[in-house]
């Protein structure tokens, strides 16, 4: 995947985007990030500034059109309500560039449907699932809340790390066909399983967020899957959004493929849900 035999003639548009990036300018590309978080820090890494303002600094610098976010504490810790509430306050006061996912607490014991509906009523646009709780995505425990999100036709972002997680997610995707599921972290183990399942499953998309984004990974996926089901995700504010965008910009793919991944595909998923309706 990291070899030097990939041939790709750089296009004028790509050259222009490179030139903008090496000067730290806005990209001049439509960028919609489907995988971001607001956060104050968590166990795995030390966050310098995980505020909404810091996220928006990144979107402004890059000229991004939007970001879909969840509160990181609502996916990695135990403070779902607190984190979702904080995010609700954030999305209520910004310039409509943030679309929020409800962090779904599968082990809380309360009614997940009522909780999730309350946040949807406050402007959230989808759900975020996480595997740490040891409940497989295709477990019956998820059915009520996924059934609710299915009725809305909402997007659901799911942390996945390898073939087992994404296979379980496909189990849910088959039961809830109106939900657009986004499996996170393409490049984590079993990338070929990601590709195969995204190809086979109409309502399954995969995102690019990955801390070890090797040279050639984006190209590998596009060659085997095409670019229509691969979505740009940064995992900001855990990761640098600029660094993650640059992985896509640097890839030896066509302008059309790059534009699909950076934003066009996400636009199809989020368009009718965007607060301003654009």
């Amino acid at each position: 995947m990291t070899g030097c035999t990939q041939t790709h003639e750089i296009t004028d548009a790509q050259r222009d985007t490179f030139a903008r990036m090496v000067r730290g300018r806005t990209l001049g590309e439509f960028v919609f990030d489907v995988h971001a978080h607001t956060c104050d820090g968590w166990g795995l890494c030390c966050i310098y500034d995980g505020s909404r303002e810091a996220l928006q600094h990144e979107t402004r610098m890059l000229g991004s059109t939007g970001m879909a976010v969840s509160a990181v504490c609502a996916i990695s810790g135990i403070d779902f309500r607190r984190a979702n509430d904080a995010l609700a306050r954030d999305i209520g006061k910004d310039d409509n560039k943030l679309a929020a996912y409800v962090g779904i607490d599968i082990r809380h014991g309360r009614s997940l449907v009522d909780d999730t509906a309350a946040y949807i009523a406050r402007g959230f646009k989808g759900g975020k699932l996480y595997t740490r709780w040891g409940v497989p995505y295709d477990d019956d425990a998820y059915h009520p809340v996924l059934d609710y999100l299915n009725q809305l036709g909402a997007p659901v972002l799911a942390h996945c790390w390898g073939g087992r997680d994404i296979t379980q997610l496909v189990g849910a995707a088959r039961k809830f066909p109106r939900i657009r599921f986004i499996a996170a972290h393409t490049g984590s183990p079993d990338v070929d399983t990601y590709i195969r399942l995204a190809k086979e499953t109409d309502n399954l998309y995969i995102d690019t967020a990955y801390s070890r984004g090797q040279r050639g990974l984006i190209e590998y996926v596009v060659q085997r899957l095409g670019s229509e089901k691969l979505l740009f995700g940064s995992d900001a504010a855990l990761f640098s959004a600029a660094q993650q965008v640059a992985r896509v910009v640097a890839a030896r793919i066509s302008d059309e493929d790059r534009r699909n991944i950076l934003g066009r595909n996400a636009l199809r998923l989020f368009k009718h849900l965007r607060p301003d309706g654009d």
Binding site: C4, F18, G24, I47, D49, M61, S211, A237, Q243, V245
Partner: protein, 254 residues
Amino acid sequence: MIEFFDADVLIGRLIDQDLAEAPTMADVAAELARTGAARAALVTNTRIYLSNPAWGNDDLAADLDATRDEAGVELRGIFGLDTVEERPGTAPDEQIERVMAHHAAGVQFWPAHCAYEFASWQCPRLFDLLSQRRLPIFMHADQASYAQLHEVMQRFDRLTIILQRVPYAATRPIMGLMRACPGLRLCTSPHFVGNQVIEQFAHYLGHERLIFGSGLFTYDQLPAVAQVMYARLDEDHKSAIAGGNLRRLLEAIQ
């Protein structure tokens, strides 16, 4: 425009890689031209740790000679060393003279790959000479433990070590280690992807201790460039991280 000087480029064949896919010095020059951010890079090769440092050094020197006239590209080598000081031909002063004859920018240590300890007792004369010559040690973060790095840097406090390919989850220990070891520098890389880690380390430890590196050809160069260029730092600080700090270290080599 800020000029980048890439301190982390590895060429040569990996064990599980076809020879035809192995990156070469010509690929380095082509990639610098493609990205357009850097015209200078420090390069080392896989043969130094997969075969023999002396063979790797010979290849590296020959590759550098062959690209010396490459228009507009400045490439220097990071060479390998044998850490058994007693073997014929591996006396530290002899080894250092040999790599200095190739205008070495530093030496690459591979203790985990090459089954030696990164410890002050492993090669004390070598560490002493490297300190005297102010020749930097480059090392991937997975090659030594934090405790080993700390032990060596406490014993040889004039050593410069540039730690490459640090994982993002290591932010906290690396920050503590750098505080305890003033000679330790952090090389940026696309594996150290934490949001605002550049700003964070610059703020707490000083931008002078950050060195730009891309991790070519495991990673593309542009992501590492973007992480610096979009950082919330003054242009002067970005410029220092991009290349100025490395150039100062190279000028200090004796």
